[in-house]
């Protein structure tokens, strides 16, 4: 009988016989093949018997379904095919048990615990959505009020200080300006600001005590300066 072998990296998790006309795959518990991983959609894909052939159909999953590295919406399954769903693979075994050399991930290393490097091709398989990578956001501040050196600051560094200290990205002037008033952090997913040195930080007139995710147009008040955050691209 046809079956699939669910694997995570090189480790086989379980074997599933394809004994129904439709077999559903997904993260939700009512699927026939449940893969409990964030990279897998609730209802990710289904395997269908059509005549003598087996097909796999993507159920509009977020990260897609791949046969041997090819993204498919529907594709026929052959013996030895490797289906990638999230970070798990399904090895397709049809009819006769053929000992196929695992086409799974060429992972280097000796055990699960050990650090290993994976080949670029396999990274694509695992990540399954190279195209989904978000472009890095670049933002900045326009100074509305206060004594600063420039009117417009692009925030290119990982951490930018607003304050009087040497090296502060947004360098405040004036005797009463605090050394460090706030820190702006840049991450792949965007910017956030944190009050520092016990100074009051306000965003859009509201006092902020912890991390605040900056949005285009936010008005930030720190250390006697008022600036507006903007997203450049």
């Amino acid at each position: 009988m046809a079956k699939v072998l669910l694997k995570f990296k090189e480790a086989a998790i379980r074997e599933i016989p394809l004994d129904q006309d439709v077999i559903t795959i997904g993260r939700k518990a009512d699927n026939d093949i449940v893969i409990d991983n964030q990279a897998v959609s609730g209802y990710h894909a289904r395997i269908k018997k059509e005549g003598q052939s087996l097909f796999i159909e993507d159920a509009s999953s977020l990260n897609g379904t791949y046969i041997n590295g090819q993204k498919i919406s529907k594709g026929e399954l052959h013996n030895g095919d490797v289906v990638l769903i999230g970070v798990h693979t399904l090895d397709v075994i049809l009819e006769k048990q053929i000992e196929t050399e695992a086409k799974g991930f060429a992972v280097r290393g000796r055990s699960m615990d050990e650090t290993v490097v994976i080949a670029a091709e396999d990274q694509k398989k695992i990540l399954a959505s190279q195209d989904k990578e978000k472009p890095e956001i670049l933002g900045g501040f326009i100074v509305i009020e206060g004594s600063t050196e420039k009117r417009d600051y692009l925030l290119k560094e990982r951490v930018t200080t607003i304050g009087k200290e040497d090296g502060a990205g947004i360098h405040l002037k004036g005797f009463f300006a605090p050394k460090v008033a706030a820190l702006v952090n840049r991450r792949k997913e965007g910017y956030f600001i944190t009050p520092a040195g016990g100074k009051t930080l306000k965003v859009n007139g509201q006092k902020v005590d912890h991390k605040y995710d900056l949005k285009d147009g936010d008005i930030v008040e720190a250390g006697g300066t008022k600036v507006q955050f903007y997203i450049k691209e």
Partner: protein
């Protein structure tokens, strides 16, 4: 600006050998950590080689006799280009060494290297070893892990919290020695007096939370004591991997600090 840095490496409680390496030259402002991998103790060779090549390249650069390796964005400083070049060169050295010796096949290493020049910090890294900046009571990771889990975070498939618990944290997307070329991330930042830099291998950050690193880093002004406490805590939490950490305090170069430094130097 100058940096007072100390480091420590520890085998941990589970591994039978230590494959991490590190290097500190606080006078030249160079700090490096590397986490090797591979069979037959070759991980140790790889991480050692990385550290040695970076050290030698940087020395040659300071003496004005090092050529850049590969292309760099023009906006980077000379020091940033040099530290990036040193990591690229280390990759080639490890790759060639691995090819030449059957027992070393498949060896590789991560690297996180920083150079301090004036108030500018230049960072180059590949793999999942990290550089943190502790500033004004806050800690921020300055490097993106080159791991599958982090790629998933970037694509918003996982949150940072879920990533911390992931079972595939050990899958790297980049490392030195795997191919003839490696993509090295280079970045720069402006430092201020009072900032603290922490470089570490994953044996630390997989056992100790960022908040705990922050708390210990600001607990004293003695970098060696902080390293000891961090290693101790990582081992207390399981010590599953080799642990390596460098802690460096950034301060203004004044004649007083010069005197203090001199005293410390004298004590060594």
């Amino acid at each position: 600006m100058e940096i007072i840095a100390r480091g420590r490496t520890d085998i941990g409680l589970v591994r039978t050998n230590n494959e991490d390496s590190f290097y500190i030259d606080d006078k030249a402002g160079l700090l490096v950590v590397a986490d090797g991998m591979g069979g037959h103790a070759s991980g140790e060779i790889a991480s050692n080689l990385a550290v040695d090549v970076i050290r030698d390249y940087f020395k040659a650069f300071k003496e004005g006799r090092a050529a850049l390796i590969g292309k760099f964005d023009e906006e980077y400083s000379e020091v940033a280009k040099a530290i990036g070049s040193s990591v690229r060169l280390a990759n080639k050295a490890i790759y060639e060494a691995a090819k030449s010796n059957a027992g070393w096949q498949g060896m590789g290493t991560t690297v996180a290297a920083v150079a301090i020049n004036g108030n500018r910090l230049s960072i180059a890294h590949a793999g999942d070893s990290r550089v943190y900046l502790v500033k004004a009571g806050d800690i921020e990771q300055l490097t993106d892990d080159h791991s599958v889990v982090y790629e998933q975070v970037k694509r918003e498939l996982l949150t940072r919290e879920e990533a911390q618990k992931s079972e595939i944290k050990n899958l790297l997307t980049r490392a030195l020695g795997v191919a003839s070329d490696v993509e090295v991330d280079v970045s720069e930042l402006t430092l201020s007096a009072g900032d603290i830099l922490v470089l570490c291998t994953d044996g630390l950050n997989s056992m100790v939370s960022d908040d705990d690193i922050l708390t210990l880093a600001v607990s004293t002004k003695d970098p060696a004591a902080v390293c000891d406490r961090l290693v101790e805590l990582a081992n207390k939490q399981g010590g599953k991997d080799n642990i390596t950490v460098i802690v460096g305090y950034v301060r203004n170069k004044s004649w007083i600090s010069f005197l203090l430094h001199f005293k410390e130097w004298f004590r060594r």
